[in-house]
Amino acid sequence: METIRTRIWQEEAEPDNAFAALSCHCHGYDVYGDLLINASWIEYLFLLFRGEAPSPQQARLLEGLAMALANPGPRDAAVHAAMCGGVGGSTSASCLMAALAVGAGASGGAREVFIAMEDWLARGTDLTLWQTGLAVKPIDDPADVWPAPGHPAGFDPHGVRCTAPVLQTLTHLSSMDCGTSLAWLQLNRLPLESATRLPLAMSGVAAAALHDLGFTPAQGEMLHLLLRLPGAAVHALEQKDYGYKKFPFFSVELENDPGPAQDILAHAEDVA
């Protein structure tokens, strides 16, 4: 019989039903007999990804990050996409799929976090390596499905200065004394911003936090996708309630408008 190999999940079947679990263990812990009673959601989340229970500092850091990322607000492209689903009465899953697809990108999305986490792995807390790396323009790889990032990962391509929410998040998360990246980022933010001529963005703080928590770039990318879904969900539902007449449609300026087609006009006159 073919098998599904897993190091995460172990089940024991009910004696009379091979398709129902009597017990479920996650990385060795009894999920419904132990974790449900004794662990928090954020601890369980950490356990799922890392395979070990978090320290108190790690649990607090992941919880802080989850809070900071939960709702980027309606101006964020991923939330905007989810609202486009909600406003037209699209299915709930499609609203979240829209948020995932857009929030996956290298501009403000999970791919940006992935790239920034790779930078943390390569550069650590070496300021010179960061400054040299940030000065290099991202290269387009024509063989990659991901379009070339337009700016260094973790920084705001249109920002003027580091925004208050980003600074507040960085200050709060770096105070949790978990890993070295956040504290180093707090100390070295200004020279990094000088090197890129761009302010630090929330994605940059998220990447440092995820790196401090010991996640791989691929795990960080997944968590960033996941943790931003609550905001997408509620804004989609809210716009569904408001209805499309209260949602912007915007204007278009067509650069190559051929104008009304002659044959269609002639037909319209015939009909008239």
Binding site: F19, A53, L254, I264
Partner: protein, 276 residues
């Protein structure tokens, strides 16, 4: 101009040459009236015009249509199709299942990740060979740096049943003389003669034909997005028409657990959480 000033310029307005619709009046598609000058295009022709802005000959269109016909497999075991079928068995909507299955088709070992790499390799190799470089050396270097060549070899099986019928059609349409196509077969010859023993797969053939028809790797990538689409609805419908949950039901014993042994959770003290 940059920063917020640049963003201000774009608030609430879309400046575009892609197209627009004028409610109750008309629709413009890449500078043409959709219901007048483009009204006779078949769907794939319009789709390609949207991507490339170019038109293709009747013979090329026949081959481009067949490229997707010949790879539309309604087999729910295939990973992307299985997503559509699982949506059916779980009683989700057809649109959600198929949209997710299409998204999954952008994979690295098959689908659009592999196809884009195949197209990029053949396009780059052709330019280099034209500039006098040795193809054998290019193939060797690519194998060394990428640990494989996209478009050659195949997960699960080595032979590709789509190549013979596609080549028959390509010859019938008189389109078998393209430079990328020739190069794709030359690469296969090199790979079969060496210790690698890798056959060309459909990704390389499709990429070569598209490149011979003037598509860039990126244009080819977009052309390919609906490639597996036709095989997906049958998978969804077949699962949806059967009783719920009958598609690949998994008993507990299917899991081969390779993780740590059973252990007890040590709850954090409330003071741990408060003090950090």
């Amino acid at each position: 101009m940059k920063g917020p000033e640049l963003l201000e310029q774009h608030v609430g307005r879309l400046v575009t040459s892609a197209g627009a619709f004028f409610p109750g009046e008309r629709a413009v598609f890449r500078g043409h009236d959709l219901h007048a000058s483009l009204k006779d295009l078949d769907w794939l022709e319009l789709y390609l015009f949207g991507i490339t802005g170019r038109r293709y000959t009747l013979q090329q269109m026949k081959v481009l249509h067949a490229l997707w016909t010949y790879t539309s497999y309604p087999d729910a075991r295939l990973w992307n199709n299985r997503v559509a079928a699982l949506a059916g068995t779980a009683r989700s909507t057809g649109n959600l299942g198929i949209a997710a299955a299409l998204a999954v088709s952008e994979a690295q070992i098959y689908g659009w990740g592999a196809a884009l790499r195949a197209s990029e390799f053949l396009t780059r190799a052709r330019i280099r060979v034209d500039a006098g470089e040795d193809l054998k050396e290019l193939v060797r270097a690519e194998l060394e740096s990428e640990r494989g060549i996209a478009g050659y070899g195949r997960p699960i099986v080595s032979a590709d049943e789509r190549i013979a019928p596609m080549m028959a059609l390509v010859r019938e349409q008189g389109l078998d003389g393209g430079e990328h196509l020739k190069l794709a077969f030359e690469v296969e010859k090199i790979l079969l003669a060496g210790r690698w023993r890798l056959h060309m797969n459909y990704a390389a053939l499709a990429a070569a034909l598209a490149a011979d028809f003037g598509m860039s790797p990126r244009e080819y990538y977009f052309f390919g997005i609906p490639a597996f689409l036709a095989g997906m609805p049958p998978c969804y419908l077949d699962a949806a028409e059967k009783s719920e949950g009958l598609l690949f039901p998994l008993p507990c014993r299917i899991m081969l657990y390779e993780g740590v042994s059973s252990r007890r959770w040590k709850p954090l003290e409330k003071s741990d959480l408060a003090d950090g």
